[in-house]
């Protein structure tokens, strides 16, 4: 599963981060490291980018970049994780 495929409200745990160079480094620096829990909060009005919640803050990334992040779904809850 990749992060871009998740639906709003779903929670997942990151398993690996792809991409390269600045993009990958930025993803890692922002805390999208393996084992991190992520909740999909919403999508922008035009469907892209998306808003995530992780490590207690909100981050927006584009779908094409989210596609490079592998993850496992842990819950289907609609709502926000702590």
């Amino acid at each position: 599963m990749t992060l871009d495929k998740l639906k709003i409200g779903q929670e997942a745990i990151i398993t690996s981060v792809g991409g390269e160079g600045l993009l990958r480094r930025r993803l890692l620096d922002m805390g999208l490291t393996p084992k991190t829990r992520v909740v999909i909060r919403k999508k922008a009005p035009m469907g892209d980018p998306i808003e995530l919640r992780l490590r207690g803050y909100e981050l927006s990334i584009r779908l094409e970049d989210a596609e490079k992040i592998q993850c496992d779904i842990v819950s289907e809850e609609r709502g926000v994780g702590k």
Partner: protein
């Protein structure tokens, strides 16, 4: 002593900087890049004799990676300038991600203090942070503050000065474990002699080598043999950890932080600021409402800036300037001063100053709103909403606001590109701004449509605006493939909680922009106005001209007018008006009035003798697209930091204007 203020974006860094330094600030650029460098003197806390303590506000960054100019500038500043201490500001409501930068800063071996900001929000949410324990674990002082509520600032200033005087570097640097630890330590041994010789902190050098940081490899001037050893150590580590070098380090840092936070932070309820933000966002970034609300906000800002309120302040301003000009003129005339000198002072110098000042109300009002949008956190949402659209032309959502401001005035629009996160995006956006037809061009459109298309005014105006946007989009698509190729900075953006803007921040921001504009643009605009006055007033024998057709300016207009023959307006009056339009676009119509000897409504009649409808349209297209006024050029010069780049944009604009107008005129003539 010199202290570096460093922190993530949106952590209240500017507010703290303003608290520490008051209005005592100096804004400049880091050499060679358009990254802003702000300096100020610490004014709070105990006064320490005559000692001068400077705070340098470094760009808001998340990491010390080697990829963006902001991060490289910060690294170079810390390594080369060796400040007496680092003030690392942290958003306590978002402690994990903020500490990630702190761990990297600690490796630099510079005395460091953590300013734990937004502690009021932490209290409000019922959370608890064991500051003492955190300080003990990290081995550096940690001061809880609330920059917005002005809590703990004096304590912070005092501790900072103490840190500077004691000059004790952080004792603890080791946040690593296992294989990464082994790799960093073996590389530290290998590169120590070279790092010491180059004055680079050994620990920092070793970590960066493990990460595969190219600038560090170059800086250390490693031999091929040493590079091989580094490669070997790293691939050993990668094999054992089962992940690559960059991920291994990020992982290690976050793992340490997670443990540290588990030991020192008791999380209460969800942060109320965040819950509030969620509610606000359910409206402002709502699927259906987001775009209409954004357009409404922009419309409202325009209505106030360029509508009644702005016009009122603007009119008051120009009435004041006119009053000064009239009084000075009559004073000089009464003193029986030579008329040429009177004209120089009144028409040249004073109206030059007037034209500089006439931009001020717009700049001040616009930046008031922009800084409110930025400080509340709404700007990040705008970027979030608009990103998909702007990505198509190779930009990101953040460019939308400067571009929209371009419809009002190019000067603040160019200045507003400062908020963009990469140098490439800044330059790219700036190059597109002039295509958004600015409000000063409206009088030209109005005069010409009244003369040639009285029935179809709205259509002609709309056509012009749309043409500008279309040509802007085409230019962007060309730029994307050529001049601004390269990779755009990835759009990975924090959406900060909405916060109430601080009046002090907003006012300081306005003041800074106004000061910046006056000090930088003054010379250029002033000089240009006086030069144009000179050419308008004299002929080649330096006699004052009675008939404006005899002036040097008219002669220059005659000289260049053949260039405009293919565009359908090869008459000298048009060329002269276009040159005069360089000082300000409003001058185009007034110059026509002078040259045609017409007043008010007569201008339209006089124009219709000079142009056919087709050549009039061609002229309008040219004014839409050609070089913006000198104030904009001055803003370019300032923001690009390069004369070459500025000339490049100006030449590009003129070339595009000429080609489009010529194409239009020739095709339209053929068809009719």
């Amino acid at each position: 002593m010199i202290f570096a203020l460093i922190g993530n974006q949106n952590c209240g860094k500017t507010t703290l900087f303003n608290r520490l330094t008051g209005s005592n600030q100096h804004v400049g650029n880091f050499p060679g890049v358009t990254v802003e460098k702000k300096e100020g003197r610490i004014i709070v806390g105990k006064k320490h004799e005559k000692e001068i303590n400077t705070v340098v506000d470094l760009p808001g960054i998340y990491s010390l990676s080697p990829y963006t100019s902001e991060e490289i500038v910060t690294r170079d500043f810390l390594i080369n300038e060796r400040p007496d201490g680092i003030i690392n500001i942290i958003d306590a409501t978002n402690i994990e991600r903020n500490l990630y930068l702190s761990l990297q800063l600690l490796e630099l071996g510079i005395p460091m203090i953590i300013a734990m900001n937004m502690m009021d929000e932490v209290r409000e949410s019922g959370s608890f942070i064991d500051v003492k324990k955190l300080s003990f674990e990290l081995g550096i002082p940690v001061v809880p503050i609330s920059a917005s509520k002005n809590e703990g600032i004096a304590e912070l200033a005092e501790q900072t000065l103490k840190m500077g005087r004691d000059a004790i570097p952080p004792k603890k640097l080791d946040f690593c474990s296992g294989e990464v630890h082994t790799a960093i330590h073996s590389l530290a041994h290998i590169v120590e002699p070279k790092a010491v010789k180059k004055h680079i902190p050994v620990r920092f050098a070793a970590t960066k080598l493990v990460e595969g940081d190219k600038p560090m490899i170059e800086k250390l001037e490693l031999t091929d043999n040493e590079i091989d050893i580094v490669g070997h150590v790293v691939s050993e580590m990668e094999k054992k950890t089962g992940t690559d070098r960059e991920a291994a380090l990020a992982d290690m840092r976050y793992e340490y932080i997670e443990k540290l936070v588990a030991d020192t932070v008791v999380k209460g309820e969800r942060n109320p600021a965040q819950l509030r933000s969620e509610k606000i966002d359910s409206v402002l970034t709502n699927k259906y409402l987001a775009i209409p609300i954004f357009l409404f906000i922009m419309f409202a800002i325009f209505a106030i800036t360029f509508g009644p309120a702005g016009t009122f302040i603007g009119d008051l301003f120009s009435a004041g300037i006119d009053w000064v000009i009239v009084s000075v003129r009559s004073l000089l005339v009464n003193l029986e001063i030579n008329p040429v000198v009177v004209s120089l002072v009144a028409d040249g110098v004073l109206s030059g100053i007037g034209s500089v000042l006439s931009f001020l109300p717009v700049i001040v009002i616009l930046f008031f709103f922009l800084s409110v949008l930025e400080d509340t956190g709404y700007m990040a949402r705008v970027a979030f909403v608009a990103d998909k659209l702007l990505r198509k032309i190779g930009l990101s959502g953040k460019s939308i606001v400067p571009m929209l401001i371009g419809f009002g005035c190019s000067v603040p629009a160019v200045m507003a590109t400062r908020t963009l996160s990469s140098e490439r995006d800044r330059k790219f956006t700036m190059a597109l701004i002039p295509f958004m037809s600015c409000s000063a061009k409206v009088p030209i459109y109005a005069a010409f449509t009244a003369a040639f298309f009285p029935e179809h005014g709205v259509w002609v105006m709309s056509l012009l605006y749309v043409s500008g946007i279309l040509i802007g989009i085409i230019s962007a698509l060309v730029f994307k493939k050529t001049r601004y190729k390269g990779n755009p900075v990835p759009f990975i953006m924090e959406l900060p909680s909405y916060r109430f803007p601080s009046l002090k921040n907003v006012l300081l921001h306005m003041w800074e922009k106004a000061k910046d504009f006056i000090s930088r643009a003054f010379t250029v605009i002033f000089f240009a106005t006086v030069v144009i006055w000179f050419f308008q007033t004299f002929d080649f024998h330096f006699n004052v001209v009675v008939d404006s057709s005899q002036s040097m300016l008219a002669a220059i207009g005659r000289f260049i007018s053949p260039v405009f023959v293919p565009l359908g307006f090869g008459n000298w009056q048009s060329s002269t008006a276009l040159i005069a339009g360089l000082t300000a676009k409003e001058a185009v119509v007034s110059t026509f009035a002078v040259l045609l000897g017409a007043q008010g409504g007569e201008v339209s009649v006089a124009l219709s003798e000079l142009f056919t409808p087709i050549s009039a349209m061609s002229f309008l297209l040219f004014t839409l697209l050609y070089t913006p006024c000198v104030a904009t050029i001055a803003a370019y010069r300032r923001e690009l930091g390069s004369v070459k780049g500025t000339v490049g944009i100006v030449v590009y604009q003129i070339a595009v204007a000429w080609i489009i107008s010529a194409l239009f005129y020739q095709t339209a003539t053929l068809l009719s």
